[in-house]
């Protein structure tokens, strides 16, 4: 007999409850208003720079990195807020206990919570497409770049959401989980960024001093663990035609194998970080089970 495809019951419930709340509508309105304000400011500043010599529409291409990074920043703030109360909220209501007496596994609970956050992210992405499209239509970028940006932002949503669900699974207060999620994101961003640029800097210094004999080795691979690096690479490729691969090659990469890896930066980093996100979800599921050992 053909098995019927089932939607995760927690996801279904979250969507039903969320759709009845005005919170999501107001949040999307606020985000879109903020993005629109940025577009207006960029267009106004472009107008001021060109003065009376006519409007240079090609300058609007800069809307792409600005809007891309703004959306990424907003997403990194919104997703932790959505996911931080996902498990801790259930625990506060004591509905988590009831859930755990059903056959639904802790991993499914964590996955359902992430799924509902991703639906919100998708709605937020879809609603902002017309604003993003200004950069593409007026700035002269192709639609592939727009879809690529949306894809990378969705992947980032999954990553940040998984960290948020994980934090919510072992922290009692939602606000602490939000702060912790943001702190983990910023921590990874800063640590990997510092390691990457320190090695590139050292490499360039020695190359100049000794005539290009120093290679950064595998150190730049650390940057692949930075969930924001695919977005950075994507913006670099779209805007300037260069990439993280070329930055590393210029610094003096001498390994052929590493060269291949650096060339495929975006897919490799995305897959790597999605696996890490899966690890966070697994840890969240384990934490949900650990509650069974706590005294009520």
């Amino acid at each position: 007999m053909k098995k019927k495809l089932r939607i995760n019951p927690i996801l279904k419930k979250e969507l039903m409850v969320g759709s009845r709340s005005m919170k999501m509508s107001f949040a999307i309105l606020g985000i879109d208003a903020f993005l629109t304000l940025i577009v207006i400011l960029v267009m106004a500043s472009a107008n001021m720079m060109t003065g009376f010599s006519g409007y240079d529409y090609s300058s609007l291409v800069w809307l792409f990195p600005i809007l891309g990074c703004t959306e990424c920043g907003l997403l990194s703030l919104i997703v932790p807020i959505i996911t931080s109360g996902s498990i801790s909220g259930e625990r506060e209501r004591q509905t988590l206990d009831i859930m755990l007496t059903t056959p639904v596994s802790p991993f499914s609970i964590a996955l359902g919570k992430l799924g509902s956050a991703m639906v919100v992210v998708m709605m937020y992405m879809i609603s902002s497409i017309p604003i993003l499209a200004i950069a593409f239509v007026l700035g002269g970028l192709n639609w592939g770049a727009l879809l690529g940006l949306i894809g990378i932002l969705l992947y980032l949503g999954i990553y940040v959401g998984s960290v948020g669900v994980f934090c919510s699974s072992f922290v009692k207060k939602s606000i602490v989980a939000t702060i912790l999620t943001i702190a983990i994101g910023v921590g990874i961003l800063v640590i990997t960024g510092v390691v990457f640029y320190a090695w590139i800097g050292i490499s360039n210094y020695y190359s100049m001093k000794n005539g290009g004999s120093f290679s950064p080795g595998a150190a730049p691979l650390v940057m692949m663990f930075n969930p924001y690096s695919p977005l950075f690479d994507f913006i670099l490729r779209t805007m300037s035609g260069t990439s993280l691969y070329e930055i590393i090659e210029t610094a003096g990469n001498q390994s052929v194998v590493l060269g291949w890896i650096y060339k495929g930066w975006i897919p490799i980093s995305v897959v790597l970080n999605l696996l890490i996100a899966l690890g966070f979800l697994n840890l969240a599921a384990r934490n949900i089970c650990v509650t069974r050992n706590r005294k009520k």
């Binding site: 039903m16 206990d97 007496t101 059903t102 056959p103 050992n293």
Partner: protein, 315 residues
């Protein structure tokens, strides 16, 4: 139906359950009684797979709940002592949500839910939002939710706590109905007279151990003639502490007194003597210059038995 053998649970150094043994037959309504921290909730949570035991065995229909917790999830329905509400969810949607967690189809859940809502007298509330229901209604809905997958064993942790008398009565009727349907029910409650009316057997717990358990009638027979005496008394010229000590000394000298304990304003005396011996005890107290303002022998009921066993430390 349920067999608990040598169940022990430790939280660090604290021993919450100490070698607990319990047997509940199919179709029984078993009442769990005990003071705060006795281990009732811990036992119930272990039975439901929400807590890991330190050692021991829990068999539900022959399945080891500690080794195969996933296998017993379809056999057990759990009602916690606190009702969690989801905002913006209607009664029927609430039932559908939990039905879907057991892998049930929407049509099947709707059909079963209709019957269950009727059973708990909430048929007219099927389209109402859950957070608009009264506490009593929410608690009955929680019972209906716990029955959605037709479990053999229903575990209710103080379902009547915080309910007004009418809501308690309605809940009692629901549980009685479930009893007639052949469901095995474990229920813990503060309200002992209700338990004695509703339950077919009871177990009294203290300090993680089951002190006494069995059919209600058997236990009442065992306790016949051990009704405690409640005394309010003072000793003139002595402080409260010294007075209590003096009264306790006098009481313990009497052969029919087995235990003396205190509630907030009363002395609770475990007394095994006859009515004449009780009268003699009162006479002795008065003769020893103790001013007795109240002297009352408890009736033979579950509450007095509980007070007798736990020394007045009622939950």
């Amino acid at each position: 139906m349920l067999e608990i053998q040598n169940l022990t649970k430790r939280y660090g150094k604290f021993l919450a359950l100490n070698d607990l043994n319990l047997h509940i037959d199919k179709g029984e309504i078993f009442g769990f009684v005990g003071p705060n921290g006795a281990g009732k909730t811990t036992t119930m949570r272990i039975v439901c797979g929400l807590l890991k035991a330190s050692s021991g065995t829990v068999l539900i229909d022959g399945v080891n709940a500690l080794l195969r917790p996933d296998d017993i999830k379809r056999k057990v329905g759990y009602v916690p002592d606190f009702f969690g509400v989801y905002d913006n969810l209607k009664v029927m949607e609430y039932m559908e949500f939990y039905g879907s967690m057991y892998g049930m189809e929407r049509e099947e859940v709707c059909e079963i839910s209709e019957g269950l809502l009727e059973l708990v007298n909430l048929s007219d509330k099927r389209e109402a939002f859950v957070d608009t229901l009264s506490r009593g209604m929410k608690q009955r809905l929680c019972v209906a939710r716990a029955l959605i997958h037709n479990p053999d064993l229903l575990v209710l942790d103080e379902p009547n706590s915080g309910l007004d008398p009418r809501a308690r009565f309605e809940m009692k009727e629901v549980l009685k109905n479930l009893g007639t349907m052949g469901k095995t029910i474990i229920i813990s409650s503060h309200i002992l007279p209700e338990l004695s009316e509703m339950c077919t057997s009871i177990g009294i717990m203290e300090h993680g151990q089951l002190i006494i358990s069995g059919k209600v009638e058997e236990i009442m027979q065992k306790s016949a003639g051990t009704q405690p005496i409640r005394i309010k008394a003072t000793v003139s010229g002595q402080g409260e502490e010294d007075g209590r000590e003096y009264i306790a000394t006098v009481l313990k000298e009497q052969p029919s007194v087995s235990k003396v304990s205190y509630t907030e304003d009363e002395i609770l005396v475990s007394f095994t003597g006859s009515e004449q011996e009780a009268a003699k005890l009162l006479k002795t107290l008065v003769e020893r210059d103790i001013a007795v303002s109240n002297f009352y022998r408890e009736k033979e009921d579950l509450e007095s038995l509980f007070l007798e066993i736990t020394g007045g430390n009622q939950e």
